[in-house]
Symmetry: C3
Subunit: 386 residues, 3 copies
Amino acid sequence: MLGTIEEEPAQLLTSQRVAQLNRGDKPFHVILSQQFSREGIEQLCRLSEMVRRINDDREGSQFLRGTLSHKRAMLYFIQPSTRTFLSFSAACQVLGIPYNEVRNPSTSSEVKGETEDDTVRVLSQYFDLIIMRHPVEGFAERMALMLNGMRRPLPIINGGSGKDQHPTQALLDIYTLYRCFSPRGAERGAATRGSERGAVPRASDRGIPPRFPENFFSGKTIAFVGDLKRGRTVRSLAYLLCRYPGVRMLFVAPPELMIGDDILEYVTRYGIEYEIRHDLRPVIGECNAVYMTRLQDEWDVAGESKSIDYGRYHITREMSGDFKPDLAILHPLPRRHEIDPSLDALPHAKYWEQVRNGMWMRASIIATIFGVDTAITDHYHSYYAH
Amino acid sequence: MLGTIEEEPAQLLTSQRVAQLNRGDKPFHVILSQQFSREGIEQLCRLSEMVRRINDDREGSQFLRGTLSHKRAMLYFIQPSTRTFLSFSAACQVLGIPYNEVRNPSTSSEVKGETEDDTVRVLSQYFDLIIMRHPVEGFAERMALMLNGMRRPLPIINGGSGKDQHPTQALLDIYTLYRCFSPRGAERGAATRGSERGAVPRASDRGIPPRFPENFFSGKTIAFVGDLKRGRTVRSLAYLLCRYPGVRMLFVAPPELMIGDDILEYVTRYGIEYEIRHDLRPVIGECNAVYMTRLQDEWDVAGESKSIDYGRYHITREMSGDFKPDLAILHPLPRRHEIDPSLDALPHAKYWEQVRNGMWMRASIIATIFGVDTAITDHYHSYYAH
Amino acid sequence: MLGTIEEEPAQLLTSQRVAQLNRGDKPFHVILSQQFSREGIEQLCRLSEMVRRINDDREGSQFLRGTLSHKRAMLYFIQPSTRTFLSFSAACQVLGIPYNEVRNPSTSSEVKGETEDDTVRVLSQYFDLIIMRHPVEGFAERMALMLNGMRRPLPIINGGSGKDQHPTQALLDIYTLYRCFSPRGAERGAATRGSERGAVPRASDRGIPPRFPENFFSGKTIAFVGDLKRGRTVRSLAYLLCRYPGVRMLFVAPPELMIGDDILEYVTRYGIEYEIRHDLRPVIGECNAVYMTRLQDEWDVAGESKSIDYGRYHITREMSGDFKPDLAILHPLPRRHEIDPSLDALPHAKYWEQVRNGMWMRASIIATIFGVDTAITDHYHSYYAH
């Protein structure tokens, strides 16, 4: 099947979509995970490490806050989300980019009968970037194409659209995996309990590697656990992981909530090994990472989630004897009962760090869109990497 | 009638009101359109052009963001308005003035039984400027007078009060008309499709004219179309246009929604020629500008708008054959069906640019209130006008 | 009773609580009034005077806005409060600390079934400080202890929790009393009507006294009036005033709303003289300060406030003949009918100034937590105190 990718209409369609969203080979809008090559992902991860490091002292953070202080961003969050909203707004603050927000459409002029297209056209007059979270699948992409046709086009970042994609979450997830699987990761984690400073690479680390090893994720087993059908973060992360030959995926979900066939086909097309499972307990010992998700019952049509035994998709204290030493537990949050809070104290628990990683990754994405990634890299190398 | 203006009690009343709102001949509070002389209007338009130009590069925008970074503004928006709110907040960001907002009175301490006068007194302790949008006619003016009596008076800008006035909208509207009718306007518009940079005057324009020609609007026909009875933007703009002898106004509205007699008297008093019409189609060919408005049925008492044939107050693709070459279509937005979206692509469509103009104009108003207009003008002349 | 304080279990408990919230003898979290020694209170009052003075010109305010521009704050306001929210956010703006807010829990991820502990854990990843207002008694303190156990602990400021405490309000109240009772206070007040500049100490004042006299509040009668049972600001201020031997307190309230026995015991333990009264009229002539409060009927269980004659706890124009010359009227606001608005014009009315004092005091508290109080003091002495 691999040899025929280019002829697949669906694949052609994706590459056409990517071409409309990129400028050259660089994302202008950030809408789909498929816009990111492995090299693009690794550049963003390296940049995130630098942003984190530079922000760690007063002078560095003031440098960062000057990089985009001449731009302005709109956070158009029609689908409620405290977490993602705060992550993006914190990222904007890190880069000094003033932002504004539209969160509650009922206070907006939609009550006066305006179309949402017009609302976005108006926003495009005030701002230099729109970060958009919307319940309708494909809305962010459609708006990106609409703005491409305006006199003053400006980039859109998809902060989650419908049940479809959530590319910035996927990028922060893979950044977290990079940190967990890097040899210094474990060391750092152990050495620096109680101190944030230690959790970032130091001058004594002699900088961030210019390349990650080719086989970085090779041989790693990553389990996606829970409501994989309606969790768009899983979908977006699966797309990204297909850039890494040799990774192995476990999809652990109730049959009713199993991941979509489109993802399984995509994974197959890239030659990634995967397994379908319906219980976490028997496979936990094989995992290098588990990506836990909550039951997304807000998408239920007729309460169908109620009949599901979701307990098989919980990770518990009792399983911890089987954990591999380097097991990393991730969760896009919010959690319900999937992760026993008593696990929070274990070094395997990476979900709080994952939250903080999101702020650095989103700052890196925004910096890259505006082309100030080079200035940040230069600053990093002058100050920290000698 | 013209000779007796000074003796008119209503006129005296207005001049007394203006005297309480101005300091010297300069607005301290910005409440009424009638506070602005033609010279004042033109100064604001010129300043808007400079702010726009200075903001166009990184160094310039950082200069602007230092001009008011030592002040703080309150956006007190009790009447919902995404558009005006964002325009003012973007203007604050352009000038670097930190702001805060009160938008939803139900989350405020009014639930604890406080009067709104006390709320404004409290706000006056924290901020240096209050921008106010309120459903009650005259509220902003009453608060301005109340604050005049406090120990630490501070300016109020009226961002729309009741069905009465919306002076900053009128100022951005007239700024848009200035840009549309200036000889370079058309040129610029044609040359710069697809590039914002070109839409602003460049160093190669050799600066902004120190004076606009005396007869600037003379011979221009400007049609106000739609719900003129309840559209406060129309009222406020009509006041300003009375500063321009030789302009001709068409009021095109259903009889039930015709503009108030107070405006017609004011226009007459200033010797401005006007006509009352009930259908746009027959007069579209005479217009240099049309100012479209939506049906403001949120002010309906008993659904009286439903019986009106509002189609006569739409501008359509089919009319475009009759458009004068320089016809400018404006709309305070949001629009419903008054403007066919297919017109958006024509050079006549100025309503998106009008939105962006609002940001520059509001920044200029705020800068002028705080007396930093001179610093901006000086900066402009040192950098761009040699 | 005084000799046995150290053995009192309740007192031991408080000192243990304080030890968990302080680092060394300095507050890390700001949760309880009891964390503040007299020396700590006076340092904050002096710092507030300096912040106010430095902020008074453009260069000074820009210095202040650089002091914490590398940090970020979260205003987690689950209990609605415009006033306290704006006071804290203005304080953040004075120090240049970017902030974000969570105000409406229904738009948050709690709808997705997250615990509030997890919400606070997430916030702790994005921010350097959490300012928290919450309807549940003890919530802020519990969160402070939880965060002490995280890898990256960060300070919490209690902006009001349940019916219990509101320490920053108490600090701004006592700061207001300091200003009212200082000999220059009256002078300044009289001399500077109509000018804010005059209301702050000037270079010609030769700086702020390095120490306040030992007997500063000695012989002063301070009346707490109204709903003392449910007004947490009164409770918190009473704790602070116990640091001042020789002060005399009047608790003027209906029997049903009298202050709690725990406060009376605390006051007794510190040897403070107090009286219980049920009518303001007969005692108004004895007062150097009256601290008015509104009826907090939002805490009523079954409308029990309706049967109370609250008129006895109003201060009226008719009483003004009995006012001592230096009487200061305070109110934490919002007010209802407790203070006749005609009193606003009298020099005794300090409640608007009290609002503005809150901004300076909260800025001082935040500055102190982050250890930039020294930099501010140094700046003050270089520029103003020679």
